[in-house]
Symmetry: C2
Subunit: 345 residues, 2 copies
DNA sequence: CTGAAAGCGCTTACAG
DNA sequence: CTGAAAGCGCTTACAG
């Protein structure tokens, strides 16, 4: 069924039907009503592809995400979808399975071929993938934005979360509880976020005049088993360990688990802090002190900024005074629970 | 940039460019190569909307999901995306925010307007929403499939998981460990999945000649705090409670938490079984016995069946012998850990 | 207020 | 093997 069928049934031209579909004011009230009725009766839905083709605007965003099985990415995606929906965009979702150049290139080609109005790169930075993506984007006919990750100014605007602050907040809190020998189980150090959190941990220790050395650091992989192994290793390397900062809640759970197995009491013998505030963390045993990232907000913010960039491209005359910030950095928030505690002084 | 620019630069007609783009064999080798080079040089990406328009096929699937913040939905979505990607489809993702008829109607209109080749309804059934959606779909020009949820045969094919079996498996295991007074914390009973799991629990008890009564049942909301409250209530109503089946792992975590607070040992005083096998569950304290659903597989399977349905619609002559099963039911799997244990007999 | 004409960027027959 | 013509289903000027 096409606009022609509607025009025929209503006894008008296709232009008039088009006017009704687009709610134009210059249609006689009776005509409008008649056409509207026919549309409803026939259940006519105009072809959005054609509209996009003509108007050079698809009201579609391409979203590239990674690791949907993790809390962070799925939260971010939820924030993106919600905000996009509110601004009238549909979402083309692409998950990055293997992060090699060929796959990424094909993925971009597909999104661009489908005429998305803009692209959100919601893939964490690891192994320098972003520099490569950024270069690619110079040839794109549409704007792109990064969400999460890197804070370094780039040609591509970023909505990020201050990951160094995450590490700093967590560690400073542990220090405030009286801990002095604070280990860390990092995420994979190929990830920028993991390195930044580690940097925050390191800086907090340094500021307080405490020694930072390799024996206090273990590299994890974001999953609970690596937290479990991490605690074993940290204890083997530090007989006086009194706290651990885990770079996410899953690894913190692994640490709590290992502590139980080893008969170490948390927080009496060992304080633990995680990152993410996954909903389960409030019911870990003991309830986990953690650092909340505003992931959903980051996703929503990225959509809003991307929308501004799109407006600037599509209607430059109306939006010349708009400026999209190059880096938007959201601050994390400490959530104190029972896994960390003021030690008797 | 359009195909005309390429044609001009290569000194051929647009049809010839089109032939090269579509890898047609009837082009002179030198011409082919020349055109290919120009395409690469200009970085030309053909407009997929136009192709869809002409071919009546968009290679796009509409996916309607709900509750991305939960484990089940995001796993299912990951399975859908992966399989779709392998079959050459892109995904239009729509999240159902408010499940009222108006919003759903608009959502469908949008997907249909964008000419998706098929629709996957990955929203759990609650409050009879599916019957309504099913009726809607009769007017759709494209096929739809349900994933997860209802097993009752409908006009819309379903890839589901046997939720009754989940409850049965879990309860039978608890009975095998020697438990006799087995409570349940259900999901919201407006959800079909929650009711089915409860039915499985009930049947297992009945088969073993045990009494089923209301004091053994508490309704939860899928989240940990409701598990915590649930255990308190069950204990208040049953002094001899020796096991609880929680309808998901989050509520099971809440139960473990409450047990710790109350000083009840798991599994010595109380056995606990959950559902989902979320990655964290292996590191709960104690590690949680749970029932795994093959969610990713369900998502992938739904895509494969939908693809078959699409083929049947688009090329009926070639696929007349294909049959898509009306109901595909995946079986769950019990994973035994330390939260349930053989009691001394 | 309404319609005839042109066009968006491709592909599909058709002709040579 | 290659190109001129028609068409996919709409919207955008333009004319009246």
């Amino acid at each position: 069924m096409t606009i022609k069928d509607v025009a025929g049934a209503a006894g008008v031209s296709t232009q008039t039907v088009s006017r009704v579909l687009n709610n134009r004011p210059d249609v006689a009230p009776e005509t409008f009503q008649r056409v509207e009725e026919v549309i409803k009766q026939l259940g006519f839905v105009p072809n959005a592809l054609v509209r996009s083709l003509i108007q050079g605007r698809s009201h579609t965003l391409g979203v590239v995400a990674y690791g949907l099985e993790y809390f962070g990415p799925s939260r971010t995606l939820a924030g993106i979808e919600k905000q996009a929906n509110e601004l009238g965009y549909s979402i083309f979702l692409s998950l990055l399975h293997r992060p090699n150049p060929d796959d990424i290139e094909q993925l971009f080609r597909n999104l661009l071929a489908r005429q998305v109005d803009g692209i959100i790169w919601a893939v964490p930075e690891y192994e320098d993938n972003r520099a490569w993506v950024e270069e690619k984007s110079l040839d794109f006919p549409v704007p792109m934005i990064f969400v999460r990750g890197m804070t370094k100014p780039t040609a591509v605007p970023i909505v990020g979360i201050d990951n160094q602050a995450i590490g700093y907040l967590a560690t400073e809190h542990l220090l405030a509880t009286g801990a002095r020998r604070i280990g860390i189980v990092t995420g994979p150090l190929t990830w920028w976020e993991a390195r930044e959190r580690q940097r925050g941990w390191q800086e907090a220790l340094t500021v307080h005049g405490l020694e930072v050395n390799d024996r206090l650091m273990v590299e994890g992989d974001w999953n609970a088993p690596s937290g479990e192994r991490g605690l074993h290793q940290l204890l083997a390397q530090n007989t006086d360990l009194d706290a651990v900062f885990a770079s996410n809640d899953q690894m913190a759970l692994g640490i709590l688990y290992a502590a139980h197995r080893l008969g170490r009491r948390v927080p009496e013998d060992l304080s633990v802090v995680g990152v993410d505030n996954i909903p389960e963390s409030a019911h870990f045993w003991p309830p986990l002190t953690t650092v909340r990232q505003r992931l959903q907000e980051a996703g929503a913010q990225a959509v809003m900024e991307l929308d501004q960039m799109i407006q600037m491209v599509k209607r430059p005359q109306q939006n010349q005074d708009q400026v999209v910030p190059n880096v938007t950095l959201l601050q994390p928030e400490l959530i104190i629970r029972e896994s960390s505690r003021l030690l008797a002084s």
